[in-house]
């Protein structure tokens, strides 16, 4: 896994609540057996109309907005457990998703792929949207080490929470498989002493 320590970049705003994984990557794109190519189909049904032409009203198609940070409304990533959603966001080029709430499974999937789900307060989320709406080239600064997110022009900032274990994994680029395999002995001992279904 790639390491993530800090990032300063512009952001794409998606002021929509409850964005579910079916919108992030529609089910008809889940027939692959590898992790390649999901970026092209990210938000497919919002990005393109039925004839396949880009929908100019959708912010991912708006030239004004660029960057590796996606800022979304409350409860991002609800719905299916498909990790394809995290792969698609990552492949498209996002490194951080900011929202005031993340669905559990999506949050875990993102962290397992080095994509940072960064939860801020509803008030701070509003501040970010306001800042980007008034200036699309506004930069956000994400400091994982100090768990701080800052709007660079106004210096407004907020601390964010992250599981210490997961933070360590992100910063060092480790993942759970490495860790679990290293605990094999403990797992086997557990199997010996407990009831097996």
């Amino acid at each position: 896994m790639e390491k993530f320590i800090s990032l300063t970049d512009t952001a794409v705003p998606l002021e929509i609540e409850n964005i579910d994984t079916d919108q992030i990557i529609p089910a008809r794109f889940l027939k692959a057996t590898d992790k390649e190519g999901f970026g092209e189909n990210l938000f497919q049904d919002w990005r393109f109309d039925k004839a396949g032409n880009p929908n100019s009203e959708f912010n991912l198609n708006n030239k004004k907005y660029k960057g590796s940070i996606l800022v979304a409304g409350n409860n991002f990533g609800c719905g299916s457990s498909r990790e394809h959603a995290a792969w698609a966001l990552k492949a498209y080029g996002f490194k951080v998703i900011i929202s005031s709430y993340f669905a559990d499974i999506f949050k875990g999937n993102s962290l397992n792929n080095g994509l940072l789900p960064l939860q801020v307060s509803p008030e701070f989320l509003k501040k970010i949207f306001t800042a980007i709406n008034s200036n699309p080239s506004e930069k956000l600064h994400v400091d994982l080490e100090n768990q701080l997110i800052k709007i660079t022009s106004t210096e407004a900032s907020e601390k964010f929470e992250i599981d210490p274990y997961k933070k360590n994994c992100m910063i060092n680029g480790y993942d759970d498989i490495d860790f679990l395999v290293s605990r094999k002995e403990a797992i086997q001992k557990f199997e010996e002493k407990t009831f097996q279904f």
């Binding site: 609540e17 995290a86 279904f197």
Partner: protein
């Protein structure tokens, strides 16, 4: 400290707790299917790690399978390839696969319980969010992502933070025509789609105690739609009677021994929950959703509430509905009875009992998709097939089908579908499709009337 049902099972499965970090949780059963497993198999292969406990894994093909002509090669090349890959991965790793055409094949959350693979007190995971279904047995069951599928392959364990605990109590008497699906749609409409995030939910109260296993599975299935990782119900005589004699359930003396243990799986009096809600059963009526998340549900006879924000406006625009309007008498051209929420034998018995002797309306396409081969056989054996066919319903072969529209079973753009599945997201049943979630009874009544109707008046 007094323990909840959830604590008892969780604590018994913790291999180690990482200080200020997650627990290493041991997983008893791992179910896999074609869509979320291939990348996990690749991951292990790339790292040169072998699967630790192949015997604890069971595979089925369900998401991507056709519901017609299952004996023929699959037409869609990508789908065919995904199933081929699953077969090969299972063969290479000694994993039991109940593939397409096998008598045990079916939707993962229908076939595993009916085979007795799911048992009380277990931890069970699957790369599918509706794994919460299995909680109906008093099982800690939850959906995982593909990276976690790989973790379980490699270690039979997961690194997870212990969730908080929530209890939803429903007591009292349910009204006539109110099904388990209505109970869970009502709960979600009251609490909202992220009320359960970070929690595991226990359902308690006489309403759940009085439910069949099928009904309990419908309820637990939709726990994820309020954001909870899973839901569970304490096992009792209903659970034991359901399990007894099932293919992979313990037999004879073993069964009796297990029963002694299973009976201890109850929340102790005075155990603490982080959050608790109480509902009165008599407040619940047949429910239907009008928006694009499962929390946007109303009583069939209620008007659509005045919207509260931008996202609601967007949802109503997508659905083509207006605030304040009633859904009664809306013409509907599609109904779907199926999915891991409502495709068990009881669901089809209920639908058939309403349909019997009636005809579907001419405008309606009515799709009936059993959850498994076993359910399909039972539909035939009990004479339900005849009822459906005579009424003009199309009975298909088992699979996820129009629940997520990965195969050819799609609802056309702009069309409404009253569906017994669990998600009404934009485009869930096909690009541009509009889903209204409801119970099998509501779906059946809609098919007969050709429009949404307040059928409770016609029940006898």
């Amino acid at each position: 400290m007094k323990k909840t049902l959830f604590d008892k099972i969780w604590d018994a499965h913790v291999v180690e707790s990482i200080p200020a970090g997650p627990d290493i949780l041991y997983i008893d059963k791992h179910l896999i299917h074609e869509v979320t497993s291939p990348q996990a198999f690749n991951e292990l292969k790339e790292r040169g790690i072998s699967i630790l406990r192949p015997k604890q894994i069971v595979a089925t093909a369900d998401h991507n399978t056709p519901t017609e002509n299952q004996h023929l090669p699959i037409k869609d090349l990508l789908s065919r390839n995904q199933l081929k890959q699953l077969t090969k991965n299972c063969e290479d790793n000694n994993i039991t696969l109940y593939g397409l055409g096998h008598p045990y094949n079916g939707i993962v959350h229908v076939m595993a319980p009916e085979l007795g693979i799911t048992q009380p007190g277990m931890t069970l995971v699957c790369g599918d969010s509706h794994t919460s279904t299995h909680g109906a047995f008093g099982t800690i069951a939850f959906g995982i992502g593909t990276s976690q599928v790989a973790q379980v392959f490699a270690s039979q364990c997961l690194l997870v933070d212990k969730p908080k605990k929530l209890r939803v109590n429903v007591n009292g008497e349910l009204r006539y025509g109110v099904l388990p699906k209505d109970v869970i749609l009502y709960i979600i409409s009251q609490l909202g789609t992220n009320s359960g995030t970070g929690y595991f939910c226990e359902y308690a109260g006489n309403v759940f105690e009085d439910m069949s296993m099928e009904g309990r599975m419908t309820v637990c299935n939709m726990s994820i739609e309020m954001g909870a990782r899973g839901g569970l119900i304490a096992p009792d005589e209903v659970t034991f009677n359901y399990l007894e004699g099932k293919e992979f359930a313990p037999k004879g003396e073993d069964f009796e021994m297990m029963k002694i243990y299973w009976k201890t799986l109850k929340t102790e009096e005075g155990a603490k929950f982080d959050q608790e809600y109480f509902f009165d059963a008599s407040d619940i009526e047949p429910m239907i959703t009008y928006g694009t998340n499962p929390g946007m549900g109303i009583k069939l006879s209620d008007p659509i509430p005045k919207n509260t924000g931008k996202s609601d406006e967007k949802a109503l625009e997508y659905m083509g509905f207006k605030e304040g309007e009633s859904l009664i008498d809306k013409p509907i051209n599609y109904i779907f009875i199926g999915s891991c929420t409502n495709s068990r034998i009881e669901d089809f018995r209920t639908a058939a009992s309403y349909i019997k002797g009636k005809q579907k309306a001419a405008n309606v396409n009515a799709l009936i998709v059993p959850g498994s081969r076993q359910v399909a056989e039972q539909i035939k054996a009990e004479g339900l097939q005849l009822i459906f066919e005579e009424a003009g319903f199309s009975l298909r072969q088992p699979g996820c089908s129009a629940c997520l529209a990965m195969n050819d079973d799609k609802i056309p753009a702009g069309e409404y579908c009253v569906s017994t599945s669990n998600r009404n997201f934009e485009g869930r049943q096909g690009q541009g499709s509009r889903t209204l979630l409801a119970s099998p009874l509501t779906a059946a009544a809609t098919a007969i009337a050709g429009k949404i109707t307040n059928f409770t008046q016609n029940l006898n």
